[in-house]
C-alpha cells in the first residue's frame, strides 16, 4: 500500500503499486490536479515530487522532453499523466501541483 498525498488540496488516498497517478486523480477530483492532453505533451499536470520519488516509475523520452520545456528534471517534477506507482509498501508519496 502506498499513501499518496496531493498538495495544495491536502487530499490523501491509499493506492497500490502499478496504479497510474492519473487514474487516481481521475477517480478523485478532490485531488485537484489540473490536466489537459493526457499524452505527455502540454505539461498541464506537472507536479513537484515532495517525497516518495523512489516509488514512481521512470520518465520516458516524451516526458523528459516536456519537463525540459519548463526547466524541470524528473527527480523533482513529474507529469501525472505519465507516472505510475511502482513499488514499496508503507511508502508515502507527496505530489504538489506546480504553480507555473
Amino acid at each position: 500500500m502506498i499513501r499518496v498525498r496531493f498538495e495544495p488540496s491536502g487530499f490523501e488516498v491509499d493506492a497500490e503499486p502499478g496504479e497510474a497517478i492519473m487514474d487516481i486523480t481521475d477517480a478523485n477530483p478532490a485531488a485537484e490536479v489540473p490536466y489537459s492532453c493526457r499524452a505527455a505533451t502540454c505539461g498541464t499536470c506537472r507536479v513537484e515530487v515532495v517525497e516518495g520519488g523512489e516509488a514512481l516509475s521512470t520518465a520516458d523520452e516524451f516526458e523528459l522532453e516536456v519537463l525540459d520545456i519548463f526547466g524541470d528534471t524528473p527527480d523533482k517534477v513529474r507529469l501525472c499523466c505519465q507516472t505510475k506507482l511502482v513499488g514499496g509498501s508503507d511508502t508515502q508519496v507527496t505530489l504538489k501541483v506546480c504553480e507555473d
Binding site: P34, S36, T41, E65, I69, D100
Partner: protein, 410 residues
C-alpha cells in the same frame, strides 16, 4: 508563377507552397506531398517564411517552445499581432507566462468538467437533429452546417463564456473574420480587424458587467482571478475571449463537415460506425488526423536552426503544416491518405503538440461524439448529401465546409 487579381494588383503565388494560392486552398494535399518529398523545409520568398511539412519535424518543433516561440503570432505574417490589434492572448505567449495564464482556464476544460456539459450538449444535438428531420419532412432544404454543425460549438462556447442565447449569433461573423482567407493576407487583415473590434466591444462591456455583478461563468471567474497578486485587466480577459471564439467556434463545425465528407467517400466505414458506435471515439481521432481543421500554425525561431542543410535564421517565421504531417507516410505508413477508423493513432498534430496543445480538445471530442451518436441513432443511413452543391470554406489556415445540403429521407 500562379497569379490572381487583387483589386488592380496581381498577386504572384509561390507555386511550391503559398497558403493563399486558390489551387492549394481547393486541394492542398498534392502540394503537401511535394513539400514532404522534395522540400521538407521550404522558404516562401513572397511572404518571407519557412514551412515544415514532415511529421517528425513538426512534432519536435511544437514541443520546443524555447526554440520555436509563439510570442510573435501564429501565422506566417511577421507583424500580425500589431496589425490585428488583438489583446494579449496566452496562445501567443511562451512558458512560463503562457503557463500561468493557461492555468486560469484549465479547470473549465478538464474531462471531468467537460462531462458536466454532456447533458446540455446531448439535448441540444437531439433537438437540432429532430428539427432537421422536421424541416425535411416539411419539404424544406436543410443545410447541415446551419442546422447543427455551426450552432453546436457556438452554443457550447457561449455557454462556457456566459453569453446569453440572444447574442450568440454574433459569434460566427467574428470567427469567420478572424480565420478567413482570400487572395492576400493584406485583404484578410481588414476582415480580421473588423471581427476583433466587434469582439472587443461586446466582451469589453461584458467584463464591466461581470465585475459589477459576478455570475458563475468563465468571464466572472477571470475578473476575480489573480496572478502573482495582480488581477487581470479587461484587456487580458478579452484575450481569453479571442482564443475561445477564434479557436473553439468554427473548428468543430469544420470537423463535423469534413468527417461527413470522408464517411461519404468511405461508405463501408460509415456503415460500420453506425453498427458499432463504440468505434466513434477512435474514428474521431482518424477524422482529426486525415483532415486537420487547422492546416497549420506558425512559430518564430529564437535561434538559428538547420533542417536538411537549410539554415533557418533566428527571428524567422516557421509555418508548421499539421495537415501535411498528419498524412506523412514516414510516420503513418503507405495508407496515410486513406481513412481507416481502426487506425492506431499515437499522436496526431491536429490539436498541436507541446504546451499549446488545444485546451478545448475534450470539448470538441465530446461535441462530435455526441453528434455522431445522435445522428446515427436518429437518422442512420437515411440521408443523402448533395456534395456537388456543398461549399468549401475559403481559408488558408482552416479547412472545412460552409454549406452542406442534406436530404433526409422519411
Amino acid at each position: 508563377m500562379d497569379t490572381a487579381a487583387l483589386g488592380e494588383e496581381q498577386v504572384e503565388y509561390d507555386p511550391i507552397y503559398d497558403p493563399f494560392n486558390p489551387e492549394l486552398i481547393a486541394d492542398p494535399y498534392p502540394f503537401y506531398e511535394r513539400l514532404r518529398d522534395e522540400h521538407p523545409v521550404y522558404y516562401n520568398e513572397r511572404m518571407d517564411f519557412y514551412a515544415l511539412s514532415r511529421y517528425d519535424d513538426i512534432f519536435h518543433a511544437l514541443r520546443k517552445p524555447q526554440i520555436f516561440s509563439s510570442a510573435q503570432g501564429l501565422t506566417p505574417a511577421k507583424d500580425e499581432i500589431s496589425q490585428l490589434g488583438i489583446p494579449p492572448t496566452f496562445i501567443m505567449m511562451d512558458p512560463p507566462d503562457h503557463t500561468r495564464l493557461r492555468r486560469l482556464i484549465t479547470k473549465a476544460f478538464t474531462p471531468d468538467t467537460v462531462k458536466e456539459l454532456e447533458p446540455t450538449i446531448r439535448q441540444f444535438v437531439i433537438d437540432h437533429v429532430e428539427a432537421m428531420k422536421q424541416k425535411a419532412a416539411d419539404g424544406e432544404e436543410v443545410d447541415l452546417v446551419k442546422a447543427i454543425a455551426s450552432p453546436l460549438p457556438t452554443m457550447v462556447v457561449a455557454n462556457i463564456l456566459g453569453v446569453p442565447p440572444e447574442d450568440r449569433e454574433k459569434f460566427d461573423p467574428w470567427s469567420d473574420g478572424i480565420t478567413s482567407a482570400s487572395a492576400d493576407f493584406a485583404l484578410d487583415i481588414q476582415q480580421a480587424i473588423g471581427a476583433v473590434q466587434g469582439l472587443v466591444t461586446y466582451f469589453g462591456a461584458m467584463c464591466q458587467a461581470r465585475r459589477a455583478k459576478p455570475t458563475g461563468d468563465m468571464i466572472s471567474k477571470l475578473t476575480q482571478a489573480e496572478i502573482d497578486g495582480d488581477t487581470l485587466t479587461d484587456w487580458d480577459i478579452l484575450g481569453f475571449c479571442f482564443v475561445m471564439i477564434a479557436g473553439g467556434n468554427d473548428t468543430t463545425t469544420n470537423l463535423i463537415g469534413n468527417s461527413m465528407k470522408f464517411l461519404h467517400d468511405y461508405p463501408d466505414q460509415h456503415r460500420e460506425l453506425l453498427q458499432k458506435p463504440s468505434l466513434i471515439p477512435n474514428a474521431i481521432e482518424e477524422f482529426l488526423r486525415i483532415e486537420s481543421v487547422v492546416q497549420g500554425l506558425s512559430r518564430t525561431t529564437t535561434q538559428d536552426v538547420e533542417y536538411y542543410g537549410t539554415a533557418i535564421p533566428a527571428g524567422s517565421k516557421v509555418h508548421n503544416l499539421y495537415a501535411s504531417g498528419n498524412r506523412d507516410p514516414r510516420h503513418w505508413g503507405d495508407n496515410a491518405d486513406e481513412l481507416d477508423i481502426h487506425r492506431e493513432i499515437d499522436r496526431h498534430l491536429s490539436f498541436a503538440q507541446g504546451p499549446h496543445f488545444c485546451i478545448g480538445a475534450h470539448v470538441a471530442r465530446l461535441m462530435v461524439r455526441t453528434y455522431f451518436e445522435e445522428m446515427g441513432s436518429r437518422i442512420g443511413e437515411s440521408f443523402e448529401i448533395d456534395w456537388d452543391r456543398a461549399e468549401r470554406r475559403q481559408s488558408a489556415f482552416t479547412r472545412g465546409f460552409t454549406k452542406i445540403p442534406i436530404h433526409i429521407k422519411a
